[in-house]
């Protein structure tokens, strides 16, 4: 059973192979993403993050999920030597680089709670895959051609029990900044796809490694359990040394 809904202005896609899946499970996962949007969307003036950015909430009164996100963001900032940072150049917080992957990871737990074993959950190109697809094989995930937004594929990967996230230019109609260099916009590389043990890990490191520019591929190479495929503005892809096990 497969269903797509637009939440957080992005397509949220759930595809479950297990025969005993129910609509109730789907509804619970979609409702979870609506909850996430209400809390973390910087586009919603009543969201908790918008209130925080207006100075209306002190840190000790943040909700548990918000405290969790800030804590994970700080830890990620340290691991990535500052290249992952939810604080924007204007001083406001935008945790979307952390929330998307983290929320998918929590949503996957909902399906697992019901005993689902073969499925994927995706939000706008960030995907966690579990078990096998409808043909009984590893999930086939394509990497989108960053130069043609008509969903051309430039690489086909075969994945199971992994998270895959792609950071690239023109995300959210804006840019990914290099937090080490004021408001320099990343232009040298156009796409960084990271495969990790789950989508939370893949997403945070995709965001951080993209901000590092061309050096990002070396960062992922240095991490155990992660592989990456980086595409530069000349259309040349560089991959980590273990990436070939996925295609």
């Amino acid at each position: 059973m497969k269903e797509i809904r637009i939440i957080m202005n992005m397509p949220v896609i759930i595809d479950v192979v297990d025969k005993n899946v129910t609509q109730k499970m789907f509804d619970e996962v979609f409702d979870y993403f609506i909850y996430i949007d209400e809390k973390f969307s910087t586009y919603k003036s009543n969201s908790e993050i918008s209130k925080i950015n207006r100075g209306e909430v002190v840190e000790e009164n943040y909700s548990e999920d918000m405290k969790n996100i800030f804590s994970l963001s700080l830890e990620t900032k340290k691991i990535t030597n500052g290249y992952f940072d939810i604080k924007k150049p204007d001083g406001s917080y935008d945790p979307s680089g952390m929330v998307k992957g983290w929320a998918i990871f929590q949503a996957v737990k909902i399906l697992e709670k019901y005993g689902m074993k073969n499925f994927y959950v995706e939000v706008a190109g960030d995907i966690e895959v579990r078990g096998h697809n409808h043909d009984g094989e590893n999930w086939r995930v394509g990497i989108q051609n960053p130069f043609n937004k008509q969903q051309e594929i430039v690489k086909v990967l075969h994945l199971t029990n992994k998270g895959i996230a792609t950071s690239g230019t023109y995300v959210r109609g804006g840019h990914i900044y290099n937090p080490k260099d004021g408001d320099t916009i990343i232009k040298d590389i156009v796409s960084m796809t990271v495969i990790g043990p789950n989508i939370y890990e893949a997403d945070r490191f995709a965001t951080a490694s993209f901000a590092m520019g061309r050096e990002g591929i070396k960062f992922i190479e240095s991490l155990d359990g992660f592989e990456a495929y980086m595409i530069d503005s000349a259309g040349i892809a560089t991959m980590t040394s273990g990436f070939n096990k996925y295609y």
Binding site: K2, E3, I4, I6, N9, M10, P11, I13, D15, Y43, N81, Y83, Y120, A124, G125, D126, I127, N133, W139, R140, V141, G142, I143, Q144, N145, P146, F147, N148, K149, Q150, Q151, E152, I153, V154, K155, V156, A165, T166, G168, T169, Y170, V171, K187, S191, T193, E215, K218, F219, S222, D232, S233, A234, G235, I236, A237, T238, M239, T240, S241, F243
Partner: protein, 189 residues
């Protein structure tokens, strides 16, 4: 202060200033690593600095600058035109089964369009398909980039295999949401 002392102090400043200029123009500069923990973001390198900008002297020391050459980019040098489309209200509620085409919404560059088709099954969105636009941007000239040691490189090429899902960074574009919104408005019961 006597005249002799004034001349002496002034000469020392002038001499020091000239010496600093010569020193900076001819030094090999070591850029130390920013590596922390178990990875190196920038490795130790020696740079021979060919030219400096004049404001370096004001900081009172030797400052290394890496000469950066901009790669030739395939895209035009102008910044992408981000359409000022308000975030579309995606209609919620029941949909009729069938396939519904969205509009060709302006995406990113003024000469590029993005169009989607919504597939409704059982009253729900079961798929969103990208429709090939007749106004595709021409493929740009590919310039070989500097090879990275050890890591494998390849020129990207379009694959025609079917896939279950796609990982990419373009779904958040306003054009995608706009085109899908139009498709869903047609599908609404």
């Amino acid at each position: 202060m006597s005249l002799f002392k004034k001349i002496f102090v002034s000469s020392c400043f002038i001499f020091g200033f000239i010496a600093n200029v010569f020193y900076q123009r001819n030094s090999d500069i070591k850029v130390t690593s920013l590596a922390k923990d178990n990875f190196n973001l920038i490795t130790k390198q020696d740079f021979k600095i060919e030219a400096f900008e004049d404001d370096d002297e004001e900081e009172g020391g030797v400052i290394g600058r890496q000469l950066v050459t901009k790669p030739i980019t395939p895209s035009t040098s102008s910044a992408p035109v981000i359409p000022s489309v308000p975030i579309a209200n995606i209609p919620q509620g029941k949909y009729r089964d069938g396939e519904y085409l969205g509009n060709a919404a302006v995406a990113l560059y003024a000469d590029e369009f993005l169009q989607v088709k919504a597939v409704i099954s059982g009253g729900k969105i079961s798929d969103v398909i990208f429709v090939q636009s007749p106004n595709k941007r021409p493929q740009s000239i590919r310039v070989a980039s500097k090879a990275m040691p050890i890591l494998k490189q390849e020129a990207i090429s379009v694959q025609n295999e079917n896939v279950d899902a796609v990982s990419g960074a373009s779904y958040t574009s306003a054009a995608f949401v706009e085109s899908l919104g139009v498709a869903l408005a047609k599908a609404r019961v």
